[in-house]
Amino acid sequence: MNKQLIISKSIGLVTAIMVGACGLTAFGQTVAYTDAHLMTMGPLGQIENGTLLVRDGKIVDIGKDIQIPGDARVVSLQGKTVMPGIIDPYYVFKKTQSANSQQTFTFRGRVFRRPGATFSVGSFNNVAENFYPYDVDFMPALRSGITTAQLVTDGRGLSAIAQPVPDPTPEMLLADTDGFLFAKVTNQTSALDTIRKNLAGESSSSSRGKSMTRAEMIARMRAARRGRSGTPPPTSEPAKKPEEKKAAPTKQETDPIKLMWKAVREGKKPLVVNANNAATVAHLNKLLEKSQDAKIHLVATGPNLFQSLDEIGNSKNITLVMQPTIDTVPYSSQLMNVPQMAHSKKIPFAISLSLNNSQMISSQDDPLFPIAMLVKSGLPRDTALQALTTRPAKMLGVDKTLGSLEKDKVANFLVFHGDPLETGSRLKQVFLMGKSVYER
């Protein structure tokens, strides 16, 4: 991944220089944002009339009575509210070819069931390697205040964590963090096996013999046959097998994907699973009973989750990623607040704004309006805001630098006209590494 980044860096030299130049203008310069209402989401809690000192893209200091250096540029944010940038734990940036069958999805609170076609697992997509910055338009994300996002595709693969800067650069990807294994599954054997077999640690080697296409295989068979001039091929098979066996152990050690799966099995790294329908959630629960250590980030819609919430609550290894929506109970007109239900069952969860893409795009004036709805209907305010910031930061393993407004953390923050959860309180400005990247 890093190698790839270096290459892409050298290719995008021009853009890199440009970014460098932009960085230089702010280098060394301290900016003090004063008189703001700071929602730090950290140990400092809420600070009225606080000051935020930013230098070199980092928060130098934060608090109520802070000495502002003489050379600092002072920006008054009188009457404004500042909160940390939103971290989106599941940002689907590319629809792949994989058809996911039997999907249930919600639109305007109603549950729809799409019968779908045969499930195809699709190819393994290493997002960092296949990332092409010009592919992605992050403007919708920025307009909604998302400053960090875990990029995934619609299928399966290895995710990458990105910063949605407005001008596409290779720097978008956070180089110091590896991604996570992610997979979208439905309740079919082929789909569930992508997770089940790997969690069980069964042989799922991506060795040559198995990743070959049919055409390649036939070609190889023919070559073998020509060499033996007409003798049937089965005899040539044993000759091949030892080779594979020899190759297998060395590969097992080096294959990064396998190492990732091993880490998942041991609970060192979480696995991101998008469950396609309610049945899949049940199947996943059953599947996780067997592998106690594995930690799962389960992405699903409210209606697909709510019938399995008890089971999810019982297993301690599931963290949910949910949409910020009020849903209807399937096949009824009753409304339900699934994040609130999850909270009352003490299930940890994060909220992904981009998961309900149409809603995110349609409510960009006040991006936290859906969250405010959840809070109004029973979800505690702190939990809701944590689900947007500190929780996903922890889930993505970036909580040391992101997720809250604290000293020495990266200066990703949002400026709202008023309280972010108040109707009509607009997102005014988005700061990414201390720079204003979006302003309305």
Binding site: T118, Q188, T189, S190, S211, R222, A282, N285
Partner: protein, 523 residues
Amino acid sequence: MISTGLLVIVMSCVASMVTAQDDGSRNRRRGSEPQREAKPEKSETPSKKEQAGPITAVVGGDIHTVTGSMIRGGTLLMQDGKIIELGNDVDVPEGATIIDAAGKVITPGFVAINMSGLGVRSAPQKQDKLGDALDPFDRNMKFALGVGITSGCVELSSRGGRGRRRRNGEPEERFLGLDPNPEEYVTEALLDYGDEDTSLCPCCGLPVLPTEPITSRPPSQPQPRKFSAIKLSFGNLDSMLLEENVFYSPNPGSLTGALNRHNWRREVLKAKKAIQAEADKAKAANAAKSGGKETTASKSGSSSSSASKSASSSSRGGSRVNPELLRLLKHEIALRISAETVDEIKDMAELASELDYDLIIEGGTEAWLVVDDVSQSEAQIIYTPRRRRSARRGAEETSGSHVGSPGIFQKSGIPFAVSALSSSISLGGLAGRDLSSLPLEAAFAVRGGADEKTSLAAITITPARMLGLDDRIGSIEVGKDADILIMNGPPLDYRTYVEQAIVDGKVCYDRAKDRVYPVFDRE
């Protein structure tokens, strides 16, 4: 565990040997009997160990046990998904959850012998397992539970028409790093059709062009349809799958005609030989164990090796015996085939008698005309009382359906299960003549002359027996699964509603809460 399993295998082998020896006495499902004997032991041990499960008591209802006599105002205790006590003078233990069923009628959950589109969304593809395709939150299950169906038999093979079905020999979709070695089928393909760019002609040196095989493929073996039994335990995935492959079911028509029958006989014969070889092997192994070592060892060794040879030869390539067929001939499962006319039914009954397997006739519209043949072959019938078939011209008395069929079946001692006019829930249960009319269909059997007890059995214990699951479902008995219905009236009355459907001891349907069927009579 393992030892009991072995015991079962040995016993079933012995049983099959015995059947091979004396053909005169026939009692059905011999293969499953040793299992049934073994099961109580198994069920005793966990109940001794756990003891923990909460007890639910259903008190005061009139209990139709189906297999036994009716218990008026009885009490039924359930624990860990099983019925643990039953009767008029049963003490409700302290702390038990009590469901008051005074004035209500209690029956076992209905068993639908024909079900589709329930609990399983789409038929699993070739490599997909049924267990993974189950959907415990399927809405249609509520509709079925609402009329009292708590378990049933789903057909999983997609019988064409869906367009996505893979043709024989077509390569399957493979998944990176998941599937077993894919080279198998490639080898086969090359062996079958020869190498395309073989070589040059030895005489003239010109390249030999690849030719397509001129002979057409021989007709493929009848592909058995797949049926599996599932339980409609809404929201509970673990208990949904009852048993896979509960029938051996070739396509209708695949056993008719001289060639087909010849092939079928040959197939059965081959399977019987395989069973015999297996039994011999077991016998030899037994003899080796018990008998003197030196003298018998060499003999048994040779015989067992020959047996294993024959087994391996039978398992190789095209001459492989279908394991389902073996189960059929061991009387573990029955052959289920659709037969409507007199001729079809007679043919099937004859074949079943001749080749000695259990037969279930699906349809059986004209079975009332050949009652003797049917009862002689000990066949069972899946019947839909409201299905009609008009008589042929000139043979009005000796063809077509007959309203009185159920009565005739009962009189002749032919067990019959009632299936609904359609196997699925259509339009959310609004369309009427679908699976949700199953109890009504049983009521039509009463109209056709069968008595109420037999008709109720036709949607409970009889289909359960057909599925080979009568040790778990189909009646209210101590030790069986706690699948019961609490109704507000007699079970076969069209005015009756199911108030609660309890599956595995859990309330999976509550009429007042689920609001699937109208609740206008409660204010």
